[in-house]
């Protein structure tokens, strides 16, 4: 992985756009989009990144995976779009390594079913706001964590992490991503669910009083589910929560933005995954189960 590396970012929402824009400064980057006008906008105007970074990156873009080549494919779509996207890249990008960057659990397995590429798994904590097809704002400069999954090693993860770091973002490689992935799973299942139901951004309410007590109890259930799955959490989700509320900036979790825009959320992959993992091992998680049911019902209320 070096300057001659060619990268295809598949799924250019907020996270995909942040990756594509930054990486285009150190590698040859293309973007696989779902909509024609999205590809046209990127080809015509370039991809503008504002906020913590400020530049316009030149990227190639297409809706046709056959028109794009890459050594590294970053699958960065939302969880709900993963299966259709994996189906679209099936049969393409021979010889490339594919890295999933989804919330929750199970993205690697979804992609693995559609091709025999070597796979890396990643979780990202960075955040931004997508202003339009060709403009993304970089807000939280937190890291992306990468680990080997199928046919890859920690060295492969390290090379991708270095490339991301050289592009101006933060990244770190892990021998085994699952402890980090589970930390984020428990954190997201709790914080995103509570934010989506209350309408609160991730602020001090999550760390004190009755709501803080609820967040703590939800995290305890998540810890028990992780322990039963044999996972030693990389970070304590309660500490992650407390630290995040002290940044002096109240992040709006994507699940909150989704319900406010009356879009489907990622609750199936996040809260749903956690509840299913717990139930597989007979770990009672009544509060996470309640949160999951409530967010699902909130989605149902759109229609």
């Amino acid at each position: 992985m070096d300057a001659s590396t060619s990268i295809c970012v598949a799924g250019a929402g907020t996270i995909g756009s942040l990756l594509a824009g930054h990486l285009a400064r150190v590698a040859d980057v293309s973007v696989l989009t779902r909509r024609e006008e999205h590809a046209r906008a990127l080809e015509e105007h370039g991809l503008r990144v504002s906020g913590r970074s400020d530049f316009v990156a030149h990227v190639r873009a297409s809706t046709d995976p056959g028109a794009l080549e890459a050594d590294l494919v970053l699958v960065a779509c939302k969880g709900n779009d993963l299966e259709p996207l994996a189906r679209r890249i099936a049969g393409h990008f021979a010889g490339a390594t594919v890295m999933t960057v989804q919330n929750g659990l199970g993205a690697e397995e979804v992609v693995a079913a559609y091709g025999d590429w070597p796979l890396l798994s990643a979780v990202t904590f960075m955040s931004g706001t997508r202003h339009d097809d060709a403009h993304v704002e970089y807000i939280l400069d937190t890291a992306t964590w990468i680990g080997p999954h199928r046919g890859t090693t920690v060295q492969d993860a390290g090379r991708v992490a270095s490339l991301i770091v050289s592009s101006g973002l933060k990244a770190e490689a892990f021998d085994d991503l699952r402890p980090a992935q589970w930390s984020k799973l428990v954190f997201n299942a709790t914080v995103n669910g509570v934010a989506a139901l209350t309408g609160l951004p991730h602020d001090f309410h999550f760390a004190e009083g009755e709501l803080g007590a609820l967040v703590h109890a939800l995290v305890d259930e998540g810890r028990a589910a992780a322990a039963a799955a044999g996972i030693e959490l990389h970070d304590d989700p309660w500490e992650m929560n407390v630290l995040a509320t002290r940044r002096g900036f109240a992040h709006r979790p994507s699940m909150l933005e989704d319900v406010e825009a009356r879009r489907p959320t990622e609750v199936e992959l996040i809260g749903g995954s956690l509840v299913r993992e717990a139930s597989k091992r007979s770990v009672p998680v009544p509060l996470q189960t309640a949160l999951y049911a409530l967010v699902k019902a909130k989605e149902a209320s759109y229609s």
């Binding site: 509570v194 139901l197 309408g199 009544p286 509060l287 309640a290 409530l294």
Partner: protein, 305 residues
């Protein structure tokens, strides 16, 4: 006899307009909304929906205008009980005051200001369409009984129940009104906040198996807290919940708490799930789901600030 409805919102209006139809009852209404009061005085109080009624009564925003009353029926939101009874207590110096409010703790609040109190629970529901006009969504029964700490004479409880029944609001006088009250509190605490958090009507909450299971979890905690006080529920809240979910009953009803959340008004969560949690703590009965729901709805309220 003279009856004053204290808090003439949706439920208060159902009592006020119906009682106003009786020849032997003089009805007054005390309410904070100037528009609603002005409309009632000018055009009467209109109910439509489950019943069409036009009640002629006197309404006021000024408690000092109230004459001495035989009965008060307090129907404010629970968080307004204290202010409402403090303002109107003088009118009930020789009378009895009933609460038909939601939640736990209203009788105790009344007891700080008046002496003869009736513990009450009512099931009809509606919503204010415009000043002077209330949509009557659901008919239902009312139970009244003496409040143990400062009881109204049972004969007086019977007299008020009889007037309500004759007015078209079926009401029963009972010796222990805690059973019906806890049945309704458990019902409301298990369903209202779920509607408020999800935006779903009662029927839609009940037809989602995962959500219905959560409702049952909340009901079970509430039943355990009632049982720990020796309160016998007069019927199973679960039956009430399934009954209300029927298309012809209250499938499309938006819980009052959902109406509150949509209008960004403070909810009664402290008196429902908060009340159950409070009694649970006192009695050593765990109520983790009610506590979670309480915290989430408080979070919704905090998100408006």
């Amino acid at each position: 006899m003279r009856i004053c409805i204290v808090g003439c919102g949706a439920v208060g209006s159902l009592f006020a307009a119906n009682l106003a139809g009786l020849d032997d009852v003089d009805v007054w209404a005390y309410d904070a909304s100037r528009e609603h009061v002005a409309a009632i005085n000018a055009h009467g109080l209109r109910l439509s929906g489950a019943g069409d009624v036009l009640g002629r009564l006197r309404a006021t925003t000024d408690a000092s205008e109230l004459p001495a009353c035989d009965f008060g029926i307090v129907a404010t939101k629970a968080m307004h009980t204290e202010a409402a009874i403090r303002a109107t207590a003088l009118a009930f110096a020789d009378g009895c005051v009933a609460t038909v409010q939601n939640g736990l703790g209203n009788e105790e609040t009344l007891a700080r200001h008046v002496d003869r109190i009736i513990r009450g629970t009512t099931f009809p529901a509606g919503r204010i369409v415009e000043p002077g006009h209330v949509q009557w969504d659901v008919k239902g029964d009312t139970a009244l009984g003496p409040f143990e700490e400062k009881p109204a004479p049972f004969a007086e409880v019977e007299r008020l129940a009889d007037a309500c029944t004759r007015a078209g609001m079926p009401t029963e006088a009972v010796r222990d009104a805690r059973g019906p009250q806890w049945r309704k509190v458990v019902f409301n605490a298990a369903t209202n906040p779920i509607g408020a958090l999800t935006g779903l009507t009662h029927g839609r909450v009940c037809e989602r198996p995962d959500l219905r299971a959560l409702v049952t979890g909340l009901v079970d905690e509430g039943k355990a807290v009632a049982a720990a006080q020796g309160i016998e529920l007069d019927s199973d809240p679960e039956e009430l919940i399934d009954h209300a979910a029927k298309p012809e009953v209250a499938y499309d009803h938006k819980a009052s708490m959902l109406q509150d959340v949509e209008a960004r008004r403070a909810t009664e969560i402290d008196y429902l799930n908060g009340g159950i949690v409070g009694f649970g703590v006192e009695l050593g009965v765990p109520t983790p789901l009610n506590r979670a729901i309480w915290a989430l709805v408080k979070g919704v309220e905090q998100s408006w600030q």
